[in-house]
Amino acid sequence: MANPVIRIWNDAGTEVLFDSWTDDVLFFVEEHPVESPNYTNRQVVYSYPQLAGRKIVAFMTAPYNYGSRRAWALPSCRVSYSGTTPVVTVFLDDERTELPIAAGMLTVMLSGVTQ
């Protein structure tokens, strides 16, 4: 049996803008400005029990512009699964005491795929 598919073309009918059967879409879950005055090897953990069993994606964006930062702050994140619960661990490292804040924007997305 054919699967039901939502497929949306452009006006000219020359391009499929959206295909619910083949597209891989990411959905917004939440975002956090992450900031820490403890610049040495600090970790912040976010847990998503409401998304148990599903895969998530996390992006970390540095809020600095080149030249305005010395960029000793190194925000970074990993995705893992504690049992079936998705977990994001944010790492904030800043080895310079002169810049006592490590910061970034964490964006968490849902892929919807089962783990």
Binding site: I6, N41, F59, R78, E98, M105
Partner: protein
């Protein structure tokens, strides 16, 4: 009556979720090259993809003189700054002619929909718009969302090739005409002794310092994503307050990879 709440694709991946925001394509912004910035409007925090050069030669020459990708090719987003009033400035290191492609949340950027009629729109129970077929919705070029990049923090020594700590990752498709979202390793800066001299008026000796910035560049070679070191350099810096050292233990950077097809976002 129950409205459509969720549509799932052939790989079990949600493609429509009535309760969650999708991201829509706001536009692309061309980079001048070197270290350059673009300013754009987006309601809420933007998700930014940068185009990567494809099959560009990479001499990988020796350390320090490779300013701004001269000798190394690649692109990276190094910062996103909120200017207020819904405008943002994104800064990237790139060759000339690369693009940033910006996506924003549908609910915030198209609260009343794209305006195209007829159209498919999905609203949550509270009426918030989460999907609009008149907007080019963010979708990935394959399932790279599962790929974690582990970016080495080490920097090459003076005499070592710039590419010594490069990394590469194989993705399940060709990287021609693609843009990616991936973290910058951030810039690691280190000073080095540029020149020492004696000021004859004061009789004191001074040291001039340069600051070197070790940056990350991404490039595509076939289906291999290369993560390259790029070294940019400041002018002489007279005032330094001791040595800035980068410890060996802490600052590995982890990043999720996401790839989009540029042709879907003209």
């Amino acid at each position: 009556m129950t409205a459509i709440s969720r549509v799932v694709n052939s790989r079990g991946h949600y493609t429509i979720d009535r309760e969650r925001d999708g991201y829509g394509y706001i536009g692309k912004y061309q980079l001048a090259g070197g270290i350059s910035s673009v300013t754009f409007t987006c309601a809420g925090f933007p998700l930014i993809f940068f185009s990567i050069p494809y099959n560009k030669p990479d001499p990988g020459s020796k350390a320090v003189r490779d300013a701004y990708g001269e000798g190394r090719y690649g692109t990276v987003l190094v910062g996103v700054k909120n200017n207020g009033n819904g405008t943002w400035t994104a800064t990237a290191i790139s060759g000339a002619g690369e693009y940033l492609r910006v996506f924003g949340k549908v609910s915030q950027n198209w609260p009343n929909g794209s305006g195209r009629v007829p159209n498919l729109k999905l609203r949550g129970d509270d009426g918030t718009l989460h999907f609009d077929a008149g907007v080019r919705m963010l979708k990935l070029a394959g399932d790279t969302y599962d790929m974690e990049l582990v970016l080495d923090h080490r920097v090459p020594a003076w005499t070592e090739p710039t590419n010594k700590y490069d990394r590469s990752y194989t993705v399940p498709f060709d990287l021609s005409n693609k843009s990616i979202a991936a973290a910058c390793r951030c810039t690691i800066g280190m000073p080095y002794d540029y020149n020492s001299y004696i000021d004859f008026d004061s009789g004191q000796s001074y040291t001039q310092w340069h600051m070197t910035y070790y940056d990350t560049l991404y490039a595509g070679v076939g289906s291999t994503l290369q993560v390259r070191r790029c070294i940019t350099e400041s002018g002489p810096d007279f005032e330094t307050t001791g040595f800035y050292t980068v410890g060996a233990s802490t600052i590995t950077t982890y990043s999720r990879l996401a790839v989009i097809d540029n042709t879907k976002y003209p």
